[in-house]
Amino acid sequence: METLTIKEEQKQTEAKATKSISGSVAVLDALLNENVKTIFGYPGGAIMPIYDALYDYNDRLEHILVRHEQGAIHAAQGFARASGKTGVVFATSGPGATNLVTGLADAMIDSTPIVCITGQVFAHLLGTDAFQETDVINITTPVTKWNHQVTDASEIPAALAKAFYIASSGRPGPVLIDITKNAQLQLFEYEGYKKCEHIRSYRPKPIVRKEYIEEAAKLINAAERPFVIFGQGVILGKAEKEFKAFIEKAGIPSAWTIMGMSAIPTDHPLGVGMLGMHGNYGPNLLTNECDVLIAVGMRFDDRVTGRLDKYAKQAKIIHFDIDPAEIDKNVKTTVPVWGDCKETLPMLTALVESKVYPQWLQKFHDCMEKEKALCIQPEMNPEGDILTMGEVIKTLNELTQGNAIIVTDVGQHQMVACRYAQMNQTKSNITSGGLGTMGYALPAAIGAAYGDPSRTTVAIIGDGGFQMTLQELGTIMQFKPNVKILILNNQFLGMVRQWQQLFHEKRYSFVDITSPDFVQVAKGYYIDGQRISERSELKGALKTMLDHEGSYLLEVMVGKENNVFPMVPQGRGVAEIVLSKEEI
């Protein structure tokens, strides 16, 4: 106690030796104090003072100049998802800031920690419709965990400290700080940076109530057919080990949501596959046969639950979540366990009995056999000459051994990749789960390559989605992150085409998208690549891509009208999952 006070005093005297710095320098100093090394951004008039200050920070901060602000924020998301750290974005006012909105919405729904710093017009011009003025705070309010406008330089250190604290604590999310140009230029007496550790109106995590854990353990210990379903909360909570210990001791079959994928290795003996509309057969079907459903760090999205009034009605439901607003939001729980799963899971593990459920687990295996015969086999070993997306992923698995970071865009290729990709370590699956943002993968893969440069990053993208953000090839050209781009070209907006085929009498309305010569486009950016369409070339081409020094684009021509199955058709219950189009 005594020494602490002396230290405090010392700190205070040190702090009194203030110096005058600009708001812009305070921004960069805040980033250094938050241990930020990489920024994704794009300059412009209202953020020029910060970029001017950045000129002198080149040795300490790496700034990646993207080609569009949407690219910056998706890159920051990919960075955050691969590294577990907060992604940082710079953008200018007006169009720069509005270009962030899609990424903010994506980060909000997928709980990705992001701090965006936007420039704003001079404070005295606010509300005058000044050049490049937009009301960024109000535009971004529904898509940020918190946002705040700063008009005075002296507020910058505290605002940024708060921003980093809020973005990464509790249930993470995007934060936006809008700084007027005068505040960036203004000199003020800087007392040093203080990290934020407490906001009185904000409780990132609760004290765990043991009573609930005890109730949960009681239910689990009495269960005959318990089933664990888990989401990204396990990864965000950095609780992979704790989670694995729990399921292994309790012996419970466990399925992941698309966001939870890779929290345990995909070949874990208790891992029974993916939930959701295009997830595996067993996990969907048997959701309605389990007697205790244990949901960990997932939010019962409608793509996972299908029709709610037909969802797990027979089961007692235990829901572990850090966000109390998620509990009972979509599915009524029997036992809610509100807390950080890194804390709650070990408490639960201590109370559950060590068990195995061979018969119950066998049911999942039986379902898998059926799925293999009807869905997987034709994908993996097709009879015809035309390549399927599934065999591309299978071959990729053979080469990467499940060690790559897989970044996917949105559509059929995303579902196929997530169904079949092998993942041995956590943070291997980076995809836009909640918002389903086409154009996410290329910039997110750039970010992932910075987030964890020790791993191979493979971006798997459709021919449609690639055309949404392909300008980021320019970023790759200039900064040379190592990104392997794998385009699965079915010459269609495949996922929409699938729905038109199945539910709109094959009335193909504007889904036949044409593409440029992607390989030539890449060449234009000095990125090597090739296109293949033959099975005999597949393994060699993938190997060339993976072995290539630096980024590489491989375009694989695949079947035009293949469908992703199984499928829980919209509006149906999870147990009504179908394995082929004949069943719809």
């Binding site: 918190w146 705040h148 009185r200 607003a325």
Partner: protein, 196 residues
């Protein structure tokens, strides 16, 4: 579950933009706000929103959790009309001439608990504070005499069972929160929650 009137009381920091952040939680769900009042609270630095909506309890409960999730919100409560004391204030402008001639002003005032705020040669402004039926009734009374203007304030409400926010706030300010501040509402509704 049936829709009914709920009064939501929200204790917040006094922060620009928070009104919008709270309001969009309602509009996002296409829920109409019947009345919204912002005011200081019993605690110096803490603001108090009073919001009235007509919804089922389930919707209101979920809304309150979403409200409480906002960083600058300290606490959100919801109550039925039986659980609160509530009032609204209404102002009525009528021509002084007619009132003076035709109505026995004094009787009117006492009968409806009205008070004359301003009496000018050309017009008089009455004030009634009370519940909706009371302020409505007085419109009916004045209408025949040529009601020039009418306005009613948002609802303000006191929660009967509340001890106020002073003590709560102290707990919020602790770095290591006590168990009480992390009110676990599930625990408080034990019987309802555990259906095993």
């Amino acid at each position: 579950m049936q829709k009914q009137e709920f009064t939501i009381t929200v204790y917040t920091e006094n922060q620009i933009g928070l009104l919008n952040r709270i309001a969009i939680l309602f509009s996002k769900r296409k829920i109409n706000i019947d009345s919204l009042n912002t005011s200081p609270s019993e605690v110096d630095s803490v603001h108090r929103f009073t919001i009235v909506i007509n919804e089922t309890e389930e919707v209101v409960r979920k809304l309150c959790r979403q409200i409480e999730k906002q960083v600058e919100v300290l606490k959100a409560y919801y109550n039925t009309n039986e659980e609160i004391i509530w009032q609204e204030l209404a102002l009525y402008k009528v021509p002084t001439e007619i009132i003076a001639e035709e109505v026995k002003v004094e009787r009117l005032l006492s009968q409806y608990g009205a008070k004359a705020v301003v009496i000018r040669k050309d017009y008089t402004v009455f004030e009634v504070s009370g519940q909706r039926d009371e302020t409505d009734a007085f419109i009916k009374v004045l209408e025949p005499y040529g009601l020039i203007e009418f306005v009613r304030s948002a609802r303000v409400a006191i929660i009967k069972a509340s001890d106020g926010f002073h003590k709560k706030l102290k707990e919020f300010e602790y770095r290591e929160p006590s168990e009480e501040v992390i009110e676990n509402e599930y625990l408080d509704k034990n019987e309802e929650v555990f259906t095993m």
